[in-house]
Symmetry: C2
Subunit: 361 residues, 2 copies
Amino acid sequence: MPSIQDVAQLAQVSTATASRALSRPDMVAQTTRERVLKAARQLGYQPNVLARGLRQGETRTIGVIVTDILNPFHATLAKGIQDAADRHGYVAFLFNSDEDPAKERRALDTLRGHLPQGLILVPTSGAREHLKAMPDLPVVELDRVTGRPDATTVTTDNTGGGAAATRHLIELGHTRIGMIVGQQDISTATERHDAYRAALHAAGLTYDPALVLPGNHREDDGYRAAMHLLSLPADHRPTALFVGNNEMTVGAVLAARALSLRIPEDLSIVGFDDSRWAQTMTPPLTVVAQPAYDLGVQACELLLRRLSASGNRTPARVQLPTTLILRHSTAPPARPRSGASGPDPSAAHPPVTPSTGPPRA
Amino acid sequence: MPSIQDVAQLAQVSTATASRALSRPDMVAQTTRERVLKAARQLGYQPNVLARGLRQGETRTIGVIVTDILNPFHATLAKGIQDAADRHGYVAFLFNSDEDPAKERRALDTLRGHLPQGLILVPTSGAREHLKAMPDLPVVELDRVTGRPDATTVTTDNTGGGAAATRHLIELGHTRIGMIVGQQDISTATERHDAYRAALHAAGLTYDPALVLPGNHREDDGYRAAMHLLSLPADHRPTALFVGNNEMTVGAVLAARALSLRIPEDLSIVGFDDSRWAQTMTPPLTVVAQPAYDLGVQACELLLRRLSASGNRTPARVQLPTTLILRHSTAPPARPRSGASGPDPSAAHPPVTPSTGPPRA
DNA sequence: CTGAAAGCGCTAACAC
DNA sequence: GTGTTAGCGCTTTCAG
């Protein structure tokens, strides 16, 4: 790799001038500037960011930790962040915590050694503790929230989304609405759960803890929880399910299939977070959609604004709206006549908004 | 951030000793070592990798460029790489080219400034040219291949996979088998295409260029191509489709649905690359599966082996097998009686291997 | 076994 | 406008 020395030598100037020509073009005479740029091009010069970062204390680098890069929601967050960072000349280092606080801890330590100028974090339950060790690092909490008092956060309206999903099911006539909910030490899970409970109460329905099962955000957690709920005796079994994240929703659908329950005739399902899978499964799934890409972009923009000295007074909390997208996985409950759970011909499709046209771009 | 100076001072030693105590424990007396380690722990010392990398010329960093992080196949490659790198104490910097040679070029330049010790690249068509500019960087080409003579590559057996898929359709009795194929400047696309053609010839069927349409690996390319092929007059329309990658397969399935063609009664489909979507769609999709995670791991292991001086003579090309997974998207063609494409009761499910049990772990 | 000192590539004072 | 020089944090000779 050619160094700036090589460039300077070829251009017959000092390294200082070469450096200025490349980074502060207006501090150098037109002709020398051109000579330096030509030399740089000729050598394929690429500044060594290690040296530059070491010297300036500015790496133009941000760290990103998501909990599961294989989850399309997180992959989309990451893409939004990287695209935004790129537009501003920053590079984003992406790490995975796999929902594991210990891995998150290690990722943070590794990251720290690379002197990122800021961090965008989808926190695990351990994050609050971990972040104490790095009090000077500007952090944006994304999607979930640690509860640190002065945190900068970019989230979605989980409360509104949870309420909309639950109300939708209530309006269809469901009274036994089960919920599969994420870990209760994760903010999104509790918010969605609380909204569900509040919506039930508001409608005069009782909240039945037996119909609420936790899972650790993975597909098989959803599968197991749904299996349990759907195996309850017919007069206890929920006629509708609100599932607290996208991966668990897949599991819940597969469980319903394994039990030969038809969706929506025998069971209505509303998922959280939209995805191609939700759009194209049979039947297309009613979901609470989140603007994942935009969440990533906003988190990055917000972080970079905070990094620039000028933007000292930037908003501390951004919240993006959710949208309930009605498709075909919800319907009024089958009227239980004999107490058996057979199909009920009176079950009808709910009104739907358009949703499964030609593929997205 | 505390520096090694701070540690040295607290431990009452020189920075040299502190450095040795941390990186070469056996070069330092037991007691001093303990003193240094304690000081380091106490201060939360984290080595500055910029300074270290600058000094040693070794960053313990590798670059990774995939073409589409939102594609689960690529996300899985990336995860395999990162997990493997992590096990060896390396960190992987992940970039996206979005199938765009210009973006790939920029990613390479950015990466180069970070002095990665090696690169794992899913190349675009521009890669061969781009890599000329960095002849000293050890590169592993992953999934696809640039065709550079001495390249180190980790790929799957596209030829075997393409042949198996095509033969499967032929054995079911299909004679008009369409193919939606990737860009012909991408090695995986040409290999799969060649295998398809060879399998047709081997079975005495003629290769009909009108039944082969290219796409740029995205869902909507598959949609458009399938729309075109499936809108051909009934006696020209293919009764089966072999689709050359996972995203385009989604598009093809949606096109079939849009045209109200039943799968597999009216149309058999075999996709390339397995995914949760393929497993859980209706009907479950017959696919040529690739070991994506393992591809990533192998690429990383291979690269790191090449980096260690000892492993000078490591294999240059690794190829992993593909597996044809029979599910329910293929069946014998409907016997064309009146020339109309109505359903044929003689269409039957093919024998299948187990495929859609409870969710994966 | 430990310390002093040089130097990785770069930029920012500070001179001229 | 340009050159000289120091120093970012670290590791590694080279002495002792």
